[in-house]
């Protein structure tokens, strides 16, 4: 009876060794070998809101192929972060890819990004605080392809039904609270805003606070400014004139505004496309977010065209990224997609075309980007989940736990 057992053990070892050899035969440690000369073939991974946007990108890429002689394969990701993760883990990432500003620090910290902004001549044409959003530890990594900011959107019919006029558009927190109260009637809530840092964070900025200090070195979540912002939110939630979408049975602010469940909402310029598609008959007006005790404030959301450090055709990849963020391509790419051009020189032409989007563009000068530090995503998700119960909870406690968790995440 001894030998079969020994033999099965030998067999198991043999199988394991064989499989390991097969699995690792490719060799994981191949360095990125640069393609020497001639035309390069690139892959670009993008996220797209739909066929129209994909088509617009493809047209610009076609133009680039014509001009450069390189070939570019555009891949549309269903789940961008997941597909990127696969690319990095396999050592074969896309050469150029969309990267959200909130993910920059994690990717830069892991060494996945090739910084190329220093190779670009006219980087100063981009809004400085957008470039800051793609700067990690003093290095500017990539160029923003466009951006969005938050503003206050008002349902015109509800506004006039409450006897309000253009002169009443709120410019301070007090005015916002009072018009929200006047607009709250029956099935309509004054202001519906998502319970996330990406909306409520605007109140924190207006209050003069934020999660991190300006240079990103210090955690400032538990500050009197942030507390005032959350208390302002809490008071108005309790009085019923503010609401979270879930409480009025809406998916987000756009849906709440479109269906008349909200008289006002705080969303970004993507709302324009959403309203045109789903609620074309609802008239609305966009105004800048009201100022808080800390002055004007809004949040910016932006994607850059990042180049992978493991790309085997880095020069060509940088060339493509620069081309697509150039003035001509950007003008074309921000035509119908609802996003704003990230070059300051394009703002005037854009506003001539879309004057109603002025409030969004106006926010670019003072907009706060996402929290720019690695490993903070779980903490901010936790903040979001606590925000959901801020109406009955203790704002100070929320900020204290966020402070502790952020310090732990950034320190460790």
């Amino acid at each position: 009876m001894r030998s079969p057992i020994r033999r099965s053990a030998q067999a198991a070892v043999a199988v394991a060794t064989l499989s390991l050899a097969a699995a690792c035969g490719g060799g994981f440690d191949d360095g990125a070998q640069q393609q020497e000369s001639g035309s390069a073939s690139l892959t670009m991974l993008i996220a797209s809101s739909g066929d129209a946007e994909t088509q617009a990108v493809q047209e610009q890429v076609d133009a680039y192929e014509q001009q450069s002689g390189n070939t570019v394969e555009v891949q549309v990701a269903a789940d961008l972060s997941q597909e990127l993760a696969q690319g990095f883990a396999g050592g074969n990432p896309p050469d150029v890819f969309y990267l959200d500003a909130s993910r920059l620090a994690d990717q830069a910290d892991a060494g996945n990004l090739f910084p190329y902004v220093d190779q670009v001549d006219d980087a100063d044409d981009f809004y400085p605080n957008l470039l800051d959003a793609f700067t990690y530890q003093g290095t500017q990594y990539c160029l923003p392809k466009d951006f969005s900011t938050l503003a206050l959107e008002i349902n015109d019919a509800a506004w006039s039904a409450a006897g309000l006029t253009e002169a009443d558009y709120p410019t301070t927190w007090d005015q916002l609270a009072s018009v929200a109260q006047r607009l709250t009637t029956g099935g309509q809530t004054g202001l519906v805003v998502n319970a996330t840092r990406d909306r409520v964070g605007a109140f924190m900025v207006e209050g003069g606070g934020w999660f991190l200090s300006e240079d990103g070195s210090e955690v400032t979540a538990d500050s009197p400014e942030n507390l005032e912002a959350l208390q302002y939110l809490q008071t108005n939630l309790q009085s019923g004139s503010f609401s979270f979408p879930g409480d009025v049975d809406a998916g987000d602010g756009v849906e709440a505004l479109g269906t008349g469940k909200a008289a006002m909402t705080i969303e970004g310029n993507w709302l324009v496309g959403g309203m045109a598609n789903d609620y074309p008959d609802v008239g609305y007006t966009v105004v800048p977010l009201p100022e808080g005790p800390g002055g004007p404030g809004t949040l910016s959301f932006t994607n850059c065209l990042a180049v992978a450090s493991d790309s085997d055709a880095q020069d060509a990849a940088v060339d493509l990224a620069t081309y697509l963020t150039g003035g001509d391509a950007m003008t074309a790419l921000t035509q119908d997609t609802g996003v704003l051009p990230s070059r300051q020189s394009l703002a005037d032409a854009y506003l001539e075309q879309f004057p109603e989007r002025e409030a969004y563009i106006a926010g670019a000068d003072y907009a706060q980007g996402p929290v720019n530090a690695p490993g903070v995503e779980p903490v901010l998700q936790d903040f979001d989940s606590q925000l959901g119960s801020v109406e009955t909870g203790d704002p100070a406690e929320i900020l204290q736990s966020t402070q502790t968790n952020l310090e732990q995440a950034i320190g460790g």
Binding site: R7, A11, A89, D109, G111, P378, D382, S385, N405, Q408
Partner: protein
């Protein structure tokens, strides 16, 4: 079976293959056996064993998802990732424990419910009713439908103004906005019975508790959002398990059932003493599969709630996914899945122990005792 004469005197007859010496033929058989088993063994090794070992290695490193986890630049951190989710106070442990709590309540409700409903449906379908085929298809249908489609339908059914609340409204009940309601069911039940006030929970429960969550948190019960997921999963999976019970029910020996009838056993006694014991292997299979499946719940969470509201639908599998693919903490994510694996193994073993055939175990024990007695007073060895 039928033609073979019983070996006389308890002597075993060895089947003879080939004409060579018995030892050589055995070795030949062994080689042939391995030859046949090798492709499968290689496949299992390549696609199951090696990846598991690789994942275990990842759980011991601080790999950030770039390049190979086996390259020299990846730091070995020992059991730090396990410590972060199990012992060190902090957000990571709090999230993981919240996920475990949610999943424990989920398992506690889904497994008994789906097993009982599957058994009930199978019993009904095994009796003499009309349109058996129709009902069998109808009950089985949710199981073969894509969970994506079902999840989408449930999102619409359970919105604040959805069909479920409209139905509740007929009875004068003002239904909640299911998928955005984070209140715990046990908390609500306690409120209803006047045991406590959820807005102002008893200090004895909120002051402390194991593993970073307070007793109040552990005992919240599933949130209303999770309860809606539980309804979805029970409805989806009961039909599949029903089919297993149905197959087993058709194997319950008719003569035993008849004998029970002759003995004057009533319907309940026949079910309790004849049908249920005959179903024991299937019951074990269904609860085991249910236990394993429910601890790994992912797709419904991914599609419907993404862990919201207030993390009450967060599950270890989903948390592991987001930790890896969205946050880039691959080591911690791998550690989570190994803890989950350990939980499933322990619980399945425990369940196996609880559901063991007690009669058979007692018989074996008695036989062993008898054998011991016999060896002490041996006088006859027919076999050796």
């Amino acid at each position: 079976m039928t033609a073979a004469p019983a070996p006389a005197g308890g002597l075993r007859t060895r089947p003879l293959r080939g004409s060579g010496a018995p030892g050589a033929s055995r070795a030949g058989q062994g080689r042939a056996g391995w030859a046949f088993a090798t492709p499968q063994a290689v496949l299992i090794g390549l696609f199951v064993l090696i990846p598991i070992l690789m994942a275990f290695w990842v759980s011991l490193t601080d790999w950030r998802g770039r390049g190979s986890p086996f390259s020299g630049s990846v730091g070995f951190v020992g059991f730090d990732n396990y410590a972060a989710i199990l012992t060190e106070p902090g957000l990571a442990r709090q999230d993981f424990m919240t996920a475990l709590r949610n999943n424990a309540w989920y398992v506690l409700l889904v497994v008994p419910l789906q097993t009982a409903i599957a058994l009930g449906l199978a019993l009904v379908l095994n009796s003499r009713i009309r349109a058996k085929g129709f009902f069998r298809t109808a009950f089985y249908f949710p199981t073969v439908t894509s969970s994506v489609a079902i999840s989408l339908v449930f999102i619409f059914l359970f919105t604040g103004g959805g069909a479920v609340n409209a139905l509740l409204g007929v009875f004068g009940i003002d239904g909640p906005n299911w998928f955005s309601d984070s209140r715990g069911l046990l908390h609500l039940v306690g409120d209803g019975l006047g045991l406590w006030d959820s807005a102002n929970p008893p200090a004895a429960l909120t002051s402390g508790g194991p593993a970073g969550l307070t007793w109040w948190d552990w005992l919240s019960g599933p949130s209303i959002a999770l309860a809606a997921l539980i309804l979805l999963v029970v409805w989806t999976s009961a039909g599949g398990y029903m089919l297993m019970f149905l197959a087993a029910l058709q194997d319950v020996p008719a003569d035993v059932r008849e004998a029970a009838v002759m003995d004057g056993a009533n319907r309940w006694q026949r079910f309790r003493a004849v049908t249920l014991p005959a179903l024991r292997p299937t019951l074990f299979l269904v609860t085991t599969l249910g236990l394993i499946g429910t601890w790994q719940v992912f797709d419904q969470v991914y599609l419907i709630s993404q862990g919201n509201p207030a993390k009450t639908t967060l599950t270890p599998a989903y948390l592991s996914y987001t930790s890896a693919f969205e946050v880039g903490q691959w080591g911690r994510a791998a550690a989570m899945s190994f803890v989950l694996f350990a939980i499933i193994v322990v619980l399945t073993t425990l369940q196996r122990f609880l559901m063991r055939d007690k009669d058979a175990a007692a018989e074996r024990k008695a036989a062993r005792a008898a054998a011991r007695r016999r060896t002490s007073t041996t006088f006859f060895h027919a076999d050796r």
